[in-house]
Symmetry: C2
Subunit: 297 residues, 2 copies
């Protein structure tokens, strides 16, 4: 019997989503950071996203509950930012066993609320359901975001010759940063206000895995200079490419904007680095994080 | 250490949600079947809902994957119906272990898609994440729905003297109906088009548990005639009150509408039964399904 790990996460999601018919209000269905819905001609576009963190995969059992809560919310806000938008409302699904300490749930909600509040998002509901004792905790966050039409950025708009940029530094997130990172909401807002990125996504599974996804969505190849990839202190190039959970922005810009952004990028933001260019074909990177192919976390 | 099972699901959710501040667009936050958001003055109201099914709790490991998929989607559509609205887009979160057969995932999506299509809802995305091998599968569905302003029904609008109604028959769902039920989307649409229910919810945890919730939200008590509760063949009164997973509509109507609806309720719909009245106080029912208080499924 063929299993999920044998088919691989990307292939599986692509295949099951292929068959899904989309209604007329759906501008972007499965395959980007968020789905994009047109709910009215005069209102911002609606973004929809869901994302889960699992004990033993995305956080260790001994992680502070409030940090787990922060991470769960920050991941979703990062996805809205990756479309040029921001989160508005969130729903929380907790699947935990009956022997979970109430104190843990309280800490989790404290962390979720802290992150939601910082980015002006409301937690509007959710549910708590039981899993058998001994099972990992699952925290799933679904959210609605909004984006102004002219600020919407998909993964699919990149063209050969566009510069490839990343915010911040990469690698080593699992030492702790993955629980406390700041989603690049302000940076994405500034970027889409002042420039027109041709493609964008957030880096969750490592540049080595995510850049090929962006390139494929844009029907492009890519060329990168691995030594230019910005690294956190103590990280090798391989760490920067493969560790994952960086939650930095990866985006592309038309050639004429590439110099201009280097001059204008605000100094209060984390550094901006050009790591390469989209090409008409080719590009190979090894590494990155696959849910069903490696042991976690 | 106090655990989730000791505090109880209702109390826990009430407490953690109390502290959540709500943004200006949020008309209804935690505590009803869905959250209600105002995204624009001229567009329908937005409904947000998330709901999970867990292997060993909401379905047995040997259940057909396509039925599990149908159930997961139908539960969410039932919640939109309970507000007077309908589902528009859904997001799917699968938390399954790497040894899950691909065939199972395919069956699940087939069932989800069949239900979504029947009720004109699009599955617009989602994600698949791994849980450790041996853990129960968790399928979480988040959705956006819409409701016309004048058709919105909350749990909180009931008044003493209002008649209490249920659609269909109750009890015995766990023998199989819980996997194949029809969400009362058509019935809710007709009802909110032709009448103005004062309060409504869907019956997921059994009348004995859900009616007190509706009454509490409306700051009312209730009186019911237990022998009038419509039962499926072979079910006792206790089954009808306590088994849960009926997914019928429970609603209240002002006294003047109670006779009228009995005359006008379409015969193609499942039967409509008045089971009692809201009162200014009092009302006691025993039984019903609590996630953290009983063994599943």
């Amino acid at each position: 019997v063929k299993t999920v790990s044998q088919e691989g996460e990307d292939a599986l999601i692509r295949r099951v989503c292929q068959a899904l018919p989309q209604g007329g209000q759906v501008l972007v269905g499965p395959g980007d950071d968020c789905a994009v819905i047109e709910t009215g001609k005069r209102t911002p576009l609606t973004l929809l996203k869901t994302d889960a963190v699992v004990e033993g995969v995305h956080f260790l059992p001994e992680a502070a509950a409030s940090k787990v809560g922060w991470k769960a919310v920050a991941r979703v806000l990062s996805d809205f930012a990756a479309m040029g938008g921001y989160g508005r409302e969130l729903l929380v699904t907790l699947a935990v066993s009956a022997d979970t300490p109430v104190r843990w749930i309280d800490g989790l909600y404290r962390g979720m609320q802290r992150c939601a509040e910082k980015f002006e998002t409301s937690i509007v509901g959710g549910e708590t359901t039981s899993v058998p004792i001994g099972n990992s905790k699952v925290i799933s966050i679904a959210g609605r975001g909004e984006v102004a039409r002219r600020q919407l950025v998909l993964r699919s708009g990149g063209r050969p010759g566009d510069g490839i940029f990343v915010t911040g530094k990469l690698g080593g997130s699992l030492a702790g940063r993955h629980l406390t990172f700041t989603p690049r909401v302000a940076e994405a807002a500034w970027l889409t206000e002042h420039f027109s990125p041709t493609a964008m996504m957030d880096l969750s599974d490592g540049l080595a895995r995510d850049l090929p996804r962006l390139a494929r969505a844009s029907a492009c190849g890519f060329e990168i200079d691995q030594s230019s990839v910005p690294r956190h202190r103590g990280c090798s190039v391989e760490n920067a490419l493969s560790d994952g959970e960086d939650f930095e922005l990866l985006f592309t810009l038309g050639a004429r904007s590439c110099e201009k952004i280097a001059e204008q990028w605000p100094s209060i933001f984390p550094p901006l680095t050009r790591v390469g260019s989209l090409a008409s074909s080719g590009g190979c990177l090894e590494g990155g994080w696959g849910h069903f192919e490696e042991a976690g976390p």
